[in-house]
């Protein structure tokens, strides 16, 4: 696939390297001549020096034949405008934008960006997961369906320990998919599965039911 990346900072650099390793054709557009040169020296001539928000640059990058267009600069507004340009002027089929301000995710979606990745939210999630007071972690957003895959870890002392799944007041739109035990193999939960301390339960849910799901599983 031909993939264009806007932004040759640290994220752009490592993304380019990873995509090149997978065998894709990659071009990084970078505003800073020095950064652009460094990428060209280290990764082979894969960087174009220019402003990814300008039509002339995207033209020179051959955006018309790009399969995916990814923006990873540090500015949300630049990421949005570059993606819109790629989408509306060059008809790139898939646009992906990095978002720093988590509030902007819904803005980007409303404005037609195909996928967003909120780096701030990702880091927050991982830090929260390390805190004992936050037993729920987002593993994956299924953006098109409005669903998410989450993991709930059962803290020792939860009132649900020893209970069967069928006894728990689970939200109707949440499905428990997997139980990962401290010992033994992961199992697919059934109605008669019994909750144990330290279980990691993988579930599919709507974002609205997330709090209810967590409360049902750990017995708040």
């Amino acid at each position: 696939m031909y993939i264009i990346i806007v932004g040759g900072g640290r994220l752009g650099y490592y993304l380019t390297r990873a995509l090149l390793d997978e065998g894709h054709e990659v071009l990084v557009i970078e505003k800073d001549a020095t950064f652009s040169q460094i990428i060209n020296n280290e990764l082979g001539s894969v960087s174009l020096h220019g402003d990814g928000c300008e039509a002339a640059t995207l033209e020179a990058a051959g955006s018309g034949r790009a399969d995916i267009f990814i923006t990873v600069t540090g500015d949300d507004e630049d990421n949005l405008i570059a993606c819109q340009l790629a989408k509306h002027k060059f008809n790139v089929p898939r646009t992906i934008a990095r978002v720093r301000n988590p509030q902007h995710e819904k803005v980007f979606k409303k404005l037609g960006i195909d996928a967003t990745v909120s780096t701030t939210n990702l880091i927050l999630e991982h830090i929260k997961h390390e805190l004992p007071s936050h037993p729920l972690m987002h593993l994956l957003d299924i953006q098109e369906k409005g669903l998410e895959v989450v993991e709930v870890k059962i803290p020792p002392g939860s009132t649900t320990i020893g209970k069967q799944i069928k006894e728990l007041p689970l939200p109707a739109d949440s499905i428990l998919s997997l139980i990962i035990r401290k010992e033994g193999k992961p199992t697919v939960p059934t109605n008669s599965s019994v909750i144990q301390a330290e279980d990691q339960i993988i579930a599919v849910t709507s974002p609205e039911s997330e709090d209810e799901l967590r409360a049902a599983l750990i017995g708040e």
Binding site: C53, E77, L80, Q84, H88, N101, H104, K110, L111
Partner: protein, 133 residues
């Protein structure tokens, strides 16, 4: 009387705010630096609000939910475009006007339904007439 939010209190933003304020409109000017508000006259009756125009909390504080007009005149084309799209598509502001220096970018966003003005094009035209006149 209209409610108007102006994002960016530079020379243009401040002068527009002053004009509309004199005509009795309810004006709120947004800027990220309080130093920018020095452009506003001492008798300015509107609101000068410190904050980022791409931030939903700031926009709500500025009263975007019931404003009649939103104008974006910061130095950044992309910032102006993004703010105007938020005003138009998220908050349904009836009239949204955007300054875009880059004429090509302006053309694209006109086709996407954003009312945009390019001072570059207008000023070049004025200069051309001066030169020829």
């Amino acid at each position: 009387m209209m409610k108007v939010i102006i994002m960016g209190c530079g020379r243009v933003g401040a002068q527009l705010a002053t004009l509309l304020d004199k005509e009795g409109h309810q004006v709120t000017v947004l800027d990220t630096k309080s130093y920018s508000f020095r452009w506003l006259p001492a008798d300015f009756k509107g609101t000068a609000l410190l904050g980022h125009g791409l931030d939903e909390v700031t926009l709500k504080k500025a009263g975007i939910e019931n404003t009649d007009v939103f104008v974006a005149v910061t130095q950044g084309d992309n910032r102006n475009i993004m703010a105007c799209q938020i005003a138009k598509h998220i908050f349904d502001v009836p009239k949204v006007v955007c300054r875009i220096y880059d004429p090509l970018r302006r053309d694209l966003y006109i086709t996407l339904g954003i009312e945009a003005i390019s001072p570059t094009t207008i000023f070049a035209q004025v200069l051309k007439e001066k030169v020829e006149g």
